[in-house]
Structures are given as structure tokens and as C-alpha cells.
């Protein structure tokens, strides 16, 4: 840690170079960041970075890491927010631009699959945090069932769809359930509340807005242990 990487508040800041920008869906892009070799960056699947955008001095915008720690570049995946100054700034950036950030942050993480059935629930761009957690769980060779219920506005908004479908074919214990119209709460209630009395499952929920606490409350109130229902609401 050198003086020029520590801000006035003692934060260790990083500066990555944007090496690639991918249009994953309409108004949804992945930005790939490469850090200098002198700045190794360790994180746990599920964590996020806080981008320090030069807007009104400095504006903090947190983004989940969609990549896994073992990959050479960091990936953030975000959609353009109507009227949002942070995403407007990021969507104007070109490859080669630099991005300052702090991190990793957050306690919504999964380092290895729990010794129980594991259910991931993603709504929209909430898949960004879920993706590295899921990949870590699948690589752990757990024998327990692993499920992903992923709600998106349309097939074109289903991010990482090919990768997820490939994973479902490769892992017999993994079930991928894309939801393109069925309300997420109804689906979860039908499968994990009404269908049986098994309450040993672990849930990892990520999304934007009130859908996240609604799912949390549904599961906790139906008998799942509080700590077996982990979530991150953006």
C-alpha cells in the first residue's frame, strides 16, 4: 500500500483499466477491469466494489463483481438507469478508460456450497452477484441439489443464459429455472413453501427493490432459519 493509493479517509483505492465492454442485453453492459500486477485484488464470490466516479467531486456507486476471484479480470455488469448520472457516466466510457474503486465490500458471500440443498434466486441484474457464487458452488462438487431461479423481463434480458444452460447440462445436481413471466414470489412459494415441509435448504437472493425483502419474509415466515436465507437488496 503506497500513499498515493490511500485516500484521505484511509481507504485503499484501486485503479483498473477497462479492457473490454460487452453489450449483454439492451442497455446492459459488462465492463472488464484489469489491475496492475502490483495491485492484487482478492475477494469472495458475492462481494462488490465501490466505483469512485468523478461526478460532483466524487460519487460512490457500488457494483457486484460478476467474475470469479480466479479470473484475471474483474467484471461488473450493470444496466443503464433512466436518469441515473452514475450509469450515464459509465456507459460513456470506452475501452482503455480507467476506473477508480474501493473494495471488496459486502457480507453477502459464498465461498463454498453449504452442506444442504442450495437455492439461488436472482432478479434482473441481481444475477451479477449470484453468478460467481453459483460457479463456486458448482465447482465444489457438492452432491446436494443446487437450483437457480432467475427472473428477467424477457429472453434477451436473461444475462449469461448460454453459460447457465451449459452448466445445467454439465451438472446433474443443478437445475436452472429461467422465469420470464411467472412472478418470482409465486414460483418460490410453490416450490419451496407449499410443496413440502423440508426447511433445511439455504437460499441466496439478490435483486433490486422490494422483491428481495418480500422473498426473504416469505421464506423466513414459512419456517426457514433466518441465517439460511441470505440476501442482498439493491
Amino acid at each position: 500500500m503506497s500513499d498515493d493509493t490511500v485516500g484521505a479517509t484511509g481507504r485503499l483505492t484501486y485503479e483498473g483499466t477497462i479492457t473490454r465492454i460487452i453489450e449483454r442485453a439492451p442497455d446492459t453492459r459488462s465492463f472488464f477491469l484489469r489491475l496492475p500486477a502490483s495491485q492484487p485484488f482478492a475477494f469472495t464470490p458475492g462481494q462488490f466494489i465501490s466505483c469512485l466516479l468523478p461526478i460532483d467531486g466524487e460519487m460512490i456507486r457500488p457494483y457486484s463483481l460478476a467474475s470469479n476471484p480466479e479470473e484475471p479480470e474483474l467484471e461488473i455488469c450493470l444496466n443503464r438507469v433512466p436518469g441515473g448520472v452514475g450509469t450515464a457516466y459509465l456507459f460513456a466510457l470506452q475501452e482503455g478508460a480507467r476506473l477508480r474503486f474501493t473494495g471488496p465490500w459486502g457480507t453477502f458471500t459464498l465461498d463454498q456450497a453449504p452442506e444442504a440443498e442450495c437455492v439461488f434466486i436472482a432478479d434482473g441484474t441481481g444475477i451479477a452477484a449470484i453468478r460467481p457464487m453459483l460457479r463456486r458452488a458448482l465447482n465444489g462438487r457438492s452432491a446436494h441439489p443446487i437450483g437457480l431461479h432467475y427472473a428477467a423481463a424477457s429472453r434477451t434480458h436473461l444475462l449469461y443464459a448460454d453459460e447457465l444452460e451449459t452448466a445445467a447440462r454439465a451438472h446433474a445436481n443443478f437445475t436452472f429455472v429461467p422465469l420470464l413471466g411467472t412472478p418470482l414470489t409465486e414460483e418460490i412459494e410453490r416450490r419451496y413453501v407449499a410443496a413440502d415441509t423440508d426447511r433445511s435448504r439455504h437460499f441466496f437472493i439478490c435483486g433490486v427493490g422490494d422483491i428481495v425483502p418480500r422473498l426473504r419474509d416469505l421464506l423466513r415466515r414459512s419456517g426457514y432459519e433466518r441465517r439460511a436465507v441470505q440476501y442482498e437488496k439493491w
Binding site: S50, I60, G106, P213, R226
Partner: protein, 117 residues
């Protein structure tokens, strides 16, 4: 007017802010009128890595006076506080605890925030 006294565990000099809660928000991060909003709006830095969205614990403060006059904590905040280092019975997240009354409050900003799970 409300009065917020801020103590820093790292030894920085204490600060006292007097403000009108009805004039919130004072800036753009955290809930309007929250401890984070009041501090940031008065030039006092409180870490808030998630942008004040109740998704981390970096704005953890320990309320020394006025705890019962703050807005009540919701489940999301309580779940996150469970993971905060140095948790106390009067811990709150600065981005969520809203000062609604003209009362006196004292908060302590802990020395350490957590940079990982």
C-alpha cells in the same frame, strides 16, 4: 433544532452539528435525515462503501445518547449489523438511522470498518 455530537474512536477531535431535521436531505447518500446524511451534508466523512444503500456495514456507528429517538431499525439493517465488527446493543447503520426529532444525539464512529465478509 437537533444536536448531533460525533465522537471518533480513532482520536479525531469531536464534532457537534446543530441542524433542522425537517430540512433533510442534506446530500444524496443514505436515507434522508439519516446520520450519514447529516454528517456528509455537514462535511464530516462517514465511510459508506455501498453508497448508503443498506448493503454493507461500513457506516456502523455506536449510539451513545438518543438511541430510542432514532427511527426504528428494519430487518435488512439488523441482518447486516449482525455481521458488523464491534457490534453493541446500541449499534446502528448510519445510512438507515434517521433523526426525526429536535433532540440531542451522540454517536461514536468505530476505529475499524470491515473490508471483507
Amino acid at each position: 433544532m437537533a444536536k448531533l455530537r460525533v465522537l471518533f474512536e480513532n482520536g479525531a477531535p469531536e464534532r457537534i452539528i446543530e441542524f433542522d431535521p425537517s430540512r433533510a436531505p442534506f446530500q444524496h447518500d443514505g436515507r434522508a435525515g439519516s446520520i450519514l446524511d447529516v454528517l456528509a451534508g455537514h462535511g464530516i466523512h462517514l465511510e459508506h462503501a455501498c453508497g448508503g444503500n443498506c448493503a454493507c456495514t461500513t457506516c456502523h456507528v455506536i449510539v451513545k445518547d438518543g438511541f430510542n429517538r432514532l427511527s426504528e431499525a428494519e430487518e435488512n439493517e439488523l441482518d447486516l449489523l449482525d455481521k458488523a465488527p464491534g457490534l453493541t446493543p446500541t449499534s446502528r447503520l448510519g445510512c438507515q438511522a434517521v433523526i426525526e426529532d429536535d433532540a440531542e444525539f451522540t454517536v461514536l464512529v468505530p476505529r475499524f470498518t470491515i473490508n471483507a465478509a
